[in-house]
């Protein structure tokens, strides 16, 4: 699965499926199981349909029909939300340990 066409063209995996969605959505949008299922199903079908090593199949799904310019803004300076501080990260890890101990 890939959303980074140029990187995939350079790396040349045996079989690739390109979905033009922003990073973090390589198998679909949150809470849209039907879309996710279709993407995963399409991707897996390429195990049987791709015959040429290195072929990249492009999926037809559109990220947002009302926004054709998201690619201009995504993955540019400032696109990442603030990272948790180490203290916040430790606290969330401690909380997970408590929950499952």
């Amino acid at each position: 699965m890939t959303s980074a066409l140029d990187i995939t063209q350079a790396v040349k995996p045996p079989r690739s499926v390109f979905l033009n969605f922003p990073l973090g959505h390589q198998t679909g949008k949150p809470h849209q199981p039907e879309l996710q299922r279709q993407i995963v199903r399409d991707a897996l079908s390429c195990f049987e349909t791709i015959r040429r090593p290195g072929e990249i199949v492009e999926l037809p799904y559109v990220w947002d029909p009302n926004d054709r310019t998201w690619e201009e803004r995504d993955y540019t300076r400032g696109f990442m939300p603030r990272r948790p501080t180490p203290a916040e990260a430790d606290a969330s890890e401690a909380e997970r340990r408590r929950r499952y101990s």
């Binding site: 699965m1 890939t2 959303s3 980074a4 066409l5 140029d6 990187i7 350079a10 790396v11 040349k12 995996p13 045996p14 390109f18 033009n20 922003p22 990073l23 973090g24 959505h25 390589q26 198998t27 679909g28 949008k29 949150p30 809470h31 199981p33 996710q36 299922r37 993407i39 995963v40 199903r41 991707a43 897996l44 079908s45 195990f47 049987e48 090593p53 290195g54 690619e71 995504d74 993955y75 540019t76 300076r77 696109f79 990442m80 939300p81 990272r83 990260a89 890890e93 997970r96 340990r97 929950r99 499952y100 101990s101």
Partner: protein
């Protein structure tokens, strides 16, 4: 137009030593020997998925986590510095389609979903360390589980 990730990454991380992109001239190829409906398939994801109280990833971390095949979305957490994780936190299936694969297994589209699935944090600066430290360990796991194919999902 799809995003050109190589130049945009160079721009985003311009204060760091320039990243040496992997450029391969040849393509490895192993034919699938049977229909997917008879194959054992493994899920491998680089989106930094954690199960329950598994420890988070650190910078340049080449470790990986085993995620039980029957994990529920509420059992999963995301830890990654290189992509906005809000969607994946809300629904891990955006980068780790475990529930969808279980459904496709139940529907007979894949023969068997291998247990466990694997996850690591793909923001590892050295591709050599991925090749020499991380990949061989996961390959060993896949061989032991006798999987026929794996589905690699980045983030």
């Amino acid at each position: 137009m799809p995003i050109a990730y190589i130049p945009r990454t160079q721009e985003l991380y311009s204060s760091y030593t320039p990243y040496r992109w992997v450029v391969n001239e040849t393509v490895p190829w192993t034919p699938l020997k049977k229909p997917l409906s008879s194959c054992k398939l493994a899920l491998i994801a680089s989106g930094g998925i954690l199960y329950r109280d598994q420890p988070r990833f650190h910078g340049d971390d080449t470790s990986y986590r085993r995620i039980p095949k029957n994990a529920q979305a509420s059992d999963l957490n995301i830890w990654h510095f290189g992509y906005p994780t809000a969607a994946a936190q809300a629904d891990p299936n955006c980068v780790f389609p475990l529930e969808r694969l279980r459904e496709l297994e139940a529907a007979g589209l894949i023969g068997e979903l291998s247990d466990p699935a694997f996850s690591f944090m793909g923001g590892i600066y050295s591709s050599r360390r991925v090749r020499e430290e991380l990949a061989p360990k996961i390959i060993e796991e896949l061989k032991e589980a006798r999987v026929d194919a794996f589905y690699l999902v980045p983030a």
